[in-house]
Symmetry: C2
Subunit: 321 residues, 2 copies
């Protein structure tokens, strides 16, 4: 039974450790600190800057300064057991999440993954079978503009849920803390379906923006062939999602197209990663979807074309930069 925690949220001050203190980790970690949590951060490249000056968050909702309670170079230097580990690393082969977080996982530690892609929770859930894994999706435009400097451009909504399904007290409490800090935060009993929903956009616009030579959302939507390709990829994602038990709303393709058409032209996050020579989330966004399709014997020819091409582009991009 989940107790009603609404009344005691002001006294809910959990210990939170951020792993992956980039744009996403810094923004949501900073918000949790504003909500009253004791937030510490694992920083690698930006360690000196953040240790001495904290993280400056330029935000459309008002700038703020986030000073983590502890700033450490790796999880084992934290010296405490957090109530939540907030994992916001990119989902790339280089980032071995179970290995990264192992040293700080206590009996009561819930692991919150705010990351892209599908089927990304399983390796963490397997490595820590007795810990709660909370899967989170961020709908936000935020980027790191320099060491200890984050720019929040738009949005910010979160969706959370327990993996593989359900809702827990820890998830509810965390959601309320986010809401208290001004972050709209839904809790869903079916977060895996929410991930497939988000993938409809991510698996289409992201790869096409890179493979199309670095094109923005409107350029993709304006081309007869390219907008058709976006639709075909989205339809394939719906077929796979349904085959693995997560049927998506019947109008989700049109909703994604229409929703993007009314936005200003912009570069996808994957394109920004590509242009900066950073690894792209090829496996989390495309590879896992193609493999789910294979397991379910669903034909995804457009998706597998994008996957084959993007995999080569990513390998080459990493070597070049």
């Amino acid at each position: 039974m989940i107790p009603n925690t609404t009344n005691n949220i002001s006294s809910f001050q959990p210990k939170v450790l951020i792993v992956g203190t980039g744009a996403i980790g810094s923004y949501y970690g900073g918000k949790l600190a504003q909500g009253g949590a004791h937030v510490s951060a694992v920083c690698r490249s930006d360690y000196e800057k953040v240790k001495n000056h904290g993280i400056y968050v330029e935000s459309v909702r008002g700038d703020f300064h986030f000073i983590p309670e502890k700033v450490v170079r790796s999880v084992d230097a934290y010296g405490d057991v957090p109530d939540y580990i907030l994992v916001a690393t990119k989902v790339v082969p280089e980032a071995d999440v179970p290995k990264l977080i192992k040293a700080a996982i206590g009996e009561q530690t819930a692991i919150l993954l705010i990351q892209n892609g599908i089927e990304i929770e399983e390796p963490v859930a397997s490595a820590f079978p007795n810990n709660e894994v909370i899967s989170g999706l961020a709908f936000i435009a935020v980027s790191r503009v320099g060491p200890g400097h984050i720019r929040h451009q738009d949005y910010g909504r979160l969706t959370l849920g327990c993996y593989p399904s359900g809702v827990s007290e820890k998830a509810e409490n965390l959601s309320k803390l986010f809401e208290k800090a001004g972050i709209p935060c839904d809790v869903t009993p079916d977060v895996v379906t929410a991930r497939w929903k988000k993938l409809v956009w991510n698996a289409s616009f992201n790869p096409v923006s890179v493979l199309g030579g670095g094109v923005d959302t409107q350029t993709m939507l304006n081309g007869k062939e390219s907008s058709r390709l976006l639709r075909k990829v989205m339809e394939e994602i719906c077929l796979v999602a349904k085959a693995v038990g997560h049927e998506l709303p019947h109008d989700i393709v049109q909703t994604n197209i229409d929703g993007t058409l009314v936005m200003k032209p912009y570069k996808t996050s994957m394109l920004l990663d590509f242009e900066a020579g950073r690894p792209m989330e090829v496996e989390a966004i495309l590879g896992n979807a193609v493999r789910a399709a294979e397991r379910s014997q669903v034909a995804v020819p457009h998706l597998e074309s994008l996957y084959a091409l993007l995999k080569m582009v990513d390998q080459k991009n990493r070597r070049t930069f």
Copy 2:
């Protein structure tokens, strides 16, 4: 009835006008001149250099110097009626072949197209319904390294045939002239099928090399997903070819893979065009195949993915350079 022309080939000295005096046009034009033809050339960017110094052809089969009889800036300056117009322009929207060659077309002029792609003959055949159109395919590695300077790296074989089908005296004579100059030259009564055969390689390796981020043949073949993509595209080309009446050999996909596997890794011609900022033959190689598939109601999801992406890349590439 086609007369036996074998015995009089030494006295066969036709007037040939080259339109598109790039690598292909210069090499084959130079060879026809060696065979005894009176070869003139339309040059635009390299006019001064070629007018004064001719074209130097570095070749694995022996360097040679090709001095066209006339060098003109446009077809209407030729002042004669050629027996053959050798068209070797890239097949891109900028090059309007009927318009380019109109001024030199006489009653007896045969139009030889040595170009890539499929369904490229129709606009020319429609514009000049009373002239013979000879369709030609070059299997050659040759590139322009500077003004009036061509480098022939390997191969050189030609396949010719009348469009839409058949063999003519003019085609036979031309073939013998090429053979006399050392160019293996097959004459086929079904050149359209020969084009579809060549497209199996061109529609797969060429676009994937560009869209994969600039990869060579072995990189494409080595990747599990990318080699699968190559095969899928090839299989789709076979399906479309069959649907439009040009069934290809059952082992053509494997033959293309095996043939490329034993070659040294190399960059495709489309990748070289892309890297140099030149327009790519997107429509001749992919667009026409996708449209043939649509007319025949054949599903070509891999091919249409490549087409949609490459079209965007080409548009962007032209703007950038």
